[in-house]
């Protein structure tokens, strides 16, 4: 397969972890005879420094003309008190909007080698394997906002249409078909009209996927269940804000945020990025964990139906964890491994699994 991949390393540790993801993809290309071409562009603080804009036109054009985007991380403390459009984070928000990335997908997995890193007890997380589908462009984060002139009142409107609900729901149900065939819709249908619309729309749509079991959970109960029994979940489907809260909560049960990849999918475009941020304090020290970025590359493979390739990347990651060939955030068992060395090991293992 030929894939044009836009690489947006961004700020902080973004470039060094993205580099490891590219190593893995190059090893895959060689192994499976694919042609992956990589073109790089700036986004975030580095783009502001160079051009004044967090998402320069040339970057957006590259993304639009590519098959997929490999994204690093953005954010720099020097822009923390900057206003409006000159904040690095605006680069990603604008990119999501311009490319219509309406679904955010986050796998949460407890790696066998890392069970003891979790804040939760081992028996609760052993075997956890969740895929969270969060609606990304609707709901209260994007609804009409008002603040009274005298500052005594404010409001935010949460809105959803059936078409917004359907397009992400189809993705979630299709994913469930490839997994354990269970979808849990998280909502607050006992209180909210938008939640009732979600429940009605998803219930109707579920009829097209008769093999998939559909469950419902109120968001407050879901926040408990994610701690009490995370193994009950297969695919989670939810609206934007509930997804923000529940996916962040879920992100800590695996024990390290440095392991978690994500995908943001639209009708025509797809972006893959680690969920961790730019972690400026770690920049250039070789201590950034590249696994989230590398697993994001595996999600990229899955997106194009390259499941064997994805499995090979994931297998190499698991091998590195098992052997303790990991960055210091996961404890050092054998020796001190740098970001680059971990990336080299994973790429080498893809080329020569032994």
């Amino acid at each position: 397969m030929k894939l044009k991949i836009a690489v947006l390393p961004g700020d902080g540790i973004g470039p060094e972890v993205t580099e490891q993801a590219i190593k893995a993809l190059n090893a895959i290309a060689l192994e499976f005879n694919h042609q992956f071409s990589f073109k790089q562009a700036d986004v975030g603080a580095i783009a502001i420094d160079k051009t004044g804009a967090p998402l320069p036109d040339v970057t957006l054009e590259l993304c639009k003309s590519s098959d997929a985007i490999l994204f690093g991380a953005i954010g720099d403390p020097k822009y923390d008190n900057a206003e409006g459009d000159v904040r690095p984070e605006q680069g990603l928000l604008k990119l999501r909007k311009e490319l219509g990335l309406f679904a955010n997908i986050r796998p949460v997995k407890a790696f066998e080698a890392l069970l003891d890193f979790s804040p939760l007890k081992r028996h609760l997380i052993k075997g956890v394997d969740i895929s969270i589908y969060r609606e990304l462009t609707g709901g209260v984060y994007f609804g009409k906002k008002e603040t009274a002139e005298d500052g005594s009142y404010a409001s935010d409107l949460c809105e959803y249409s059936t078409s917004e609900i359907e397009r992400i729901s189809h993705l979630a149900f299709k994913a469930a078909m490839e997994r354990r065939k269970k979808v849990t819709l998280i909502d607050k249908a006992n209180v909210l009209d938008t939640s009732r619309l979600w429940r009605k729309t998803v219930t109707e749509l579920a009829k097209s996927y008769p093999e998939v079991t559909l469950d419902f959970l109120y968001v407050d109960n879901a926040a408990m269940q994610m701690i009490l029994n995370p193994k009950q979940f297969d695919v989670i489907l939810t609206e934007n804000m509930f997804g923000d809260i529940i996916s962040d909560e879920a992100s800590v049960i695996g024990g390290s945020i440095g392991l978690l990849p994500s995908a943001s999918i639209g009708a025509k475009h797809a972006l893959f990025e680690p969920i961790h941020g730019s972690y400026p304090q770690a920049t250039g020290k070789g201590i950034a964990n590249p696994i989230a970025a590398i697993l994001s590359a595996a999600m990229l493979m899955e997106h194009f139906g390259l499941f064997e390739e994805a499995e090979m990347i994931k297998g190499a990651v698991e091998k590195s964890l098992k052997l303790g060939i990991t960055t210091p955030d996961l404890g050092v068992r054998h020796e001190r491994m740098t970001t680059s060395k971990v990336g080299d090991f994973i790429a080498d293992f893809i080329s020569n699994p032994s």
Copy 2:
């Protein structure tokens, strides 16, 4: 002190756990020479059975003319598919509204004797002592709701006024003054206008409490921090929906929902209830844990400034836990203790601490 206490035992295990709370309060009255009078009324399914209404007028009148309300639990499976106003839960919602109970207060504490019951690792929860102040009558749960006639669109409006924010914030800051002098406001001020109003209003109000440190946390980050490091929290202050999610999440870290009391406070009225439900399957079996109800009675004492009395109740509860004089949900160390026996022990210990 003279206190007229309305007792609303409600459904399921409500009556049996409430009975134990009254035992404890009677022991306190005797010990401290208070006059507590108890008058009972129906609410929930039992009220529907008798009168057709989940909150009969006579119950509401009793509550209005009392100093405080001791509430059990409501809900009965036979009304699960009932519509509208005949659902037992409406009894509590109506009561909150009629009495203007705008603040829900939930303490979350890790009891030394029960550290191993938590889904979280012991070192994370040892010493946890949080008090959550959740706004209860505003926000998106009570804002305007719309569903398009053709069913293709729905919306919910989240609204807040500064006065709604201020009245609960004063309660939270006053509580912090009696505790470790830290308030954490949970919001989503990077996205929502209502959150920015909360942040601005609370920041301004905090100037009246110079000894209290005010922290801010986005709700998605808070959902992580509640698992990663719950000990960082003293008083949590937040709006209605975030409070619903975060307080339910927090409720599981202590290891048992059967231990957690709550208070709902208004300008003139106050209601105290365990956070657990009516648990119909356990009704009449003597297995319901009365501690949440008994600790709700301790919150009632605190509400009237009877701190020594509250401490005595809490001390007796801790003693029962330490000795393993607990209902089966907490494991049985010495012998099988019933709801009533646990209540007797706690009341006796108040009378004769040994």
